[in-house]
Structure formats: C-alpha cells, structure tokens
Symmetry: C2
C-alpha cells in the first residue's frame, strides 16, 4: 500500500486538465500527469483506469444523483418539472462549486473529437436512465422518453453557456431559462 | 471500368442488411456482401468505402435535404415549425417509401454499440447543421440551437416507433404527434 497523499485525486484532476489544455489530450501521458501532481503513476491508477477516465469518472455518480432526485420527487409533479428540478439541484450542489474545473474540462472535450463522442454517449446514457426513472414513477413511456430527452437537451445547452465564462449566471438559473425558452418555442406548434 | 450492373447499390444494401441481421455487423465481410449480392468486391467499393458506410451513406444527403428545406421555409414561420415541417417532408418523401429497409437498418444498429455511437454522432451533426440553417434565417442563437435539438429529439423518438413495425402510422404523423407531446410536456413549466 502506498502512503496516503492529501487530496491526491484533486491534484491528479487539476494536473490532468492543465496538461490536456497545454498539449492536447492525445499528447499527454499518465506519467506526465502523475509527475505534474507530484505523485506516482501507481497512485494515479489507484483512482483512474486511464487518462480518459479523469474526464468521465463523475458521470456515473451524477447520473445516480439525478435518478435518485427524479424518484424522490413529489408524486403529483409533472414529468418535465421533475427532470428540471433534478437538474437544477445538481447544478447548484454539484457543478456550481466547481465552475472553473467544469469550464476547463469543457475546453478539453471541445478540442478532441473522440472525447466529444464519449460525451454524447454519456448524455444518451443519462437520458435513458432518467426516462427509466420516470417510468418507475408511472409516467407513460412516450412522455418519459421525451421529458428525459428534453431535460438533457436543456441541460447541455445551459451547461455550454455556463461553462463559457465567469460572467454567466448560476447554472440552475440558465437551466430554468432554457427550459422556459424550449417551452416557448414548442408552444408555437400547439 | 466494370460493366454496368442493374441496381447494384440496391442489391448491395439489401445483401448487407440481410447479412448484418443474420450474423451481426462485426462478423460480416465485404466479400460476403458482394457474393450475396451477386457482384464483385470491386463493385462494392465503387459505392462504399467500407461496410459501415452502407448504413450511413444516406446521412449527408438527408442533412442536405433538411437544411435546404429549413432555408426555403416561409420567412414568417416559427423556428420549431420550420424544423418540424422539414422533418415531416423528409419523412414522407425519404423514409416512407423505404420503411422495411429503415426497420431492418434500425435493428442492425440497435444490436451494435459502435453503430449506436455512430448514429448519435450523425444526429448531433444534423442538429448543428439545422441550428446553423436557422441562424442563417435570422433566428437568434439560443432559439436556433434549442429548436434544432428539439427537432432531432422528436425525429429520433418518432423514427424509433415508426421503424418498430408495420402497424405504425406514417412517420410524418408520428413526428407531428411527438412534437405536440413535447409541447404539452414543456408547457407545464411555463
């Protein structure tokens, strides 16, 4: 067993993002990340299976958080409101405290096609999980799928703006505003 | 130059889908596809760069069709109505005549993770192209992005149902119904 390193994971995350932004994701090695963090490669592999996982390790936990929030929502709440409230809670508790980290992560992903593809797959998986949680609440299949998909569209849209710079409002506010805008847009077909 | 083969492309498409459904996409070779179609490998490569392209070659043409439809829509039309009308026209002209082919293609893709990922990327590319076409019409950035994303969500949702079996209504009707359902769902947040 290696000795305990204070905030090893945080140091690895910060070092990895620094290096990905400096050199491009494809040109960074685990050895470089560990060295920049002042840790060993062995410590890196105690936290992550590979250098890509640094960017996507939080996805499963976030998905679990959102699914729990959907399942715990008041029984009478409308499907889209349930999804919107879950996303706003995650925004405030999960993302707002790490805005700069999120912004830097977004820049890394935007610069690499394979990472963009991984991000798309992650969001599609999240959408399916949210739809399944809504179905568990008794929401009919079509409404569950469309509400989950709409929620993910709104989240991604709001997130890109939020991560774009420090001048943006809180992510939860952007999610709410984007949901309102989607509602206004689709209202024109009714 | 090889001699002209009547409907070589159609025969290759049908043979490829047959084989992908029988053996799984990963286990089929171009040689097998050509043999099943009664053609040479050389003829295959006159139409497709590889066996995956059989499934995705239509994407660029469809995207061009949809972008043209968005650009040609009446100036006063609402963004979401422009996107919806373009999708309904493509549904009627493009997909309805090849429903069984579409259904079989969907089954092939549903059975293979890498193909599902490619399909996601194709749809994300389509969404960006539709948003860009809306911006060219003068639609503000946020509305353009959200209307395009909502359109793709509705299209994918309707398409999955339509491709699910011969008992389904025409794709254009399913698109319209799905758009209405999305509007009804999002209306609850207003």
């Amino acid at each position: 067993m290696g000795r305990w390193e204070p905030d090893a994971r945080g140091r690895l995350d910060a070092a990895a993002l620094d290096l990905y932004l400096e050199h491009g994701f494809d040109h960074v090695t685990v050895a470089q990340i560990a060295e920049r963090a002042g840790l060993t490669e062995r410590t890196f592999f105690r936290y992550y299976a590979d250098k890509r996982e640094v960017l996507f390790a939080g996805a499963a936990a976030l998905q679990g958080f959102l699914v729990d929030a959907v399942l715990a929502a008041p029984a009478a709440a409308e499907p889209i409101a349930v999804v919107g409230a879950a996303l706003e809670t995650a925004a405030a508790e999960w993302f707002e405290p790490v805005r700069d980290h999120s912004r830097r992560r977004s820049l890394v992903i935007a610069a690499n096609t394979a990472l963009q593809e991984r991000e798309l797959i992650k969001l599609a998986t999240l959408s399916r999980a949210l739809a399944e949680a809504l179905r568990q609440r008794g929401v009919p299949d079509a409404a569950a799928t469309l509400a989950a998909e709409a929620g993910v569209v709104v989240f991604r849209f709001a997130f890109e703006r939020w991560a774009d710079g420090p001048g943006q409002p809180p992510l939860a506010d952007l999610i709410r505003a984007s949901m309102d805008e989607l509602a206004a847009l689709t209202a024109s077909v009714r």
